[in-house]
Structure formats: C-alpha cells, structure tokens
Subunit: 137 residues, 2 copies
C-alpha cells in the first residue's frame, strides 16, 4: 500500500483511544473500538473469541487491575484498503486492586485492525504480553 | 480476498513447518521460515526485532526448553496478495531441560505472514503466549 497519511492518522486514533479507554477501565468505550467478531489473545489465558467473551474478559480484568499506561507506536502498516496492523510497546503502572500498590510495567502489543463500513478502523485481533513478571493480582 | 486454496495450502505449510522445526529445536530451519525483517513478540520478554535477535532468542530458549507441540489452525486469512494472518492454538509438552520433566502445555499464537519474491509465505510478525502458567525453567 502507498503510505496514506489520513488512513494512518485514523488507525493511530483507534490505538490511542484504546489505551485511553483501558486506562479509564471504560468497557463500553473499549468494546466500541473492537470489530464485530473480535479475538483477543491475552497472556496466560486461552484465546477470547467473540464480543461477549471479550466483554467478560475486560470485566474480569477490571475487577482485579487498573492500568495507567502510555503506548509507543512502533509500526503502523496498512496491508490492504481495509486491513492494517499496528505494533506497540506500552509502559506505565499496573495496579492490583487487592493491594492498591502500583508497580512499573511494560507490555508489547500486536493489533490487527479492520476498516468497517462506516470508515472506522476497528480492532479485529489483539495479542499482548508483559515484557517481564507482573505483581500478583 | 477471494479464497484461494493453493495459497491457503502454502500458508499452512509454513505454519506446520514452523512447529516441526520448533519441536526439533532446529534454529536454521526456523530462521529460514522467517522474513528478512522479523519481529517476534514472546510472553514475558521484550519484543525481539531483527534476524540476529530472533536467532539469539531461539538459541536461549533451546538451552532451557524443549517443545513437543501440535498446532490447531483456528484461522487462515489472506488479507492481500502478499499478506496473511494465521491464528493457532497449540498443545503438547513443555520440558525444562534443567529438570527433564515434561509438563502438559497449551499456547495461542498469532502469525503475520508475508509472501516473498520467491513465492514463499514467511513469518514476518509472530506473537504467542501460554494459556496458563508453565513449569519453572
């Protein structure tokens, strides 16, 4: 694909909105950024397939953890008119709700985004892992 | 993309060859399946960028671990003439070399493959994580 600045900006906007919603533990805002048939690939958990399962996964996560992380976009590659991938690193604070003690954390992420009929880039596949051990939750 | 059976077969062949080479701890065979500018996203480690770093990562892994895993292909999606993604689950045995005691293990994987000039589908981006805790290595 030829580099397209406005598409790149739109793709990045979805990624930044995702991490803002994650930091706010805003599940509806997060789900709004996903496509209709999402698959999430979290570390130390089986694949999470479909909107209902993805919602339940975030509900479970936010009962245990708060995030305050900032992404660094390492790659944005538009593969076709309606598919792109984005690779990010994030760093910030991971706070188990049980202890309230925030710990520095770093993650890497791989997103596959799909452009939907209403010209929005949405998260279709999402894989992530911390770059090292996290505090017990 | 229109479904293309021969392309799908070629894409799947790369994935099956990857897990065979992983099970054999055959680093040269593994590296031959990667593109020229690979990025590997392992769990609990930072992103591994470039062929030299990917090679070093497998060298480190195979000093500590042997795998005997079988993939189940969950999705094969050809996105463009020269890009595809594949999502797999694997299950099998994870054996720390230190103990020699194999333990059942399951992983999920997300591959981004790129078709190269010589009509081979190669691994360009690869993210994976176990679906639950692993034995200490």
């Amino acid at each position: 694909m030829t580099e397209n600045t406005s598409e790149r900006t739109a793709i990045e906007a979805t990624i930044f909105a995702y991490f803002q919603a994650l930091n706010e533990a805003n599940i509806n805002a997060i789900l709004d950024l996903y496509s209709k048939d999402p698959v999430m690939l979290p570390f130390l958990q089986p694949a999470v397939v479909g909107t209902d399962a993805v919602r339940a996964n975030y509900e479970g996560t936010f009962q245990l953890i708060r995030f305050e992380v900032q992404p660094t976009i390492q790659e944005v590659v538009q593969i076709s008119p309606d598919w792109a991938y984005v690779r990010t690193d994030t760093s910030g604070t991971f706070t188990p709700i049980r202890t309230g003690e925030g710990a520095p954390s770093a993650f890497h992420e791989l997103f596959l985004l799909r452009k939907t009929g209403d010209d929005r880039w949405q998260i279709a596949r999402y894989s992530f892992s911390p770059t090292g051990p996290l505090p017990a939750i």
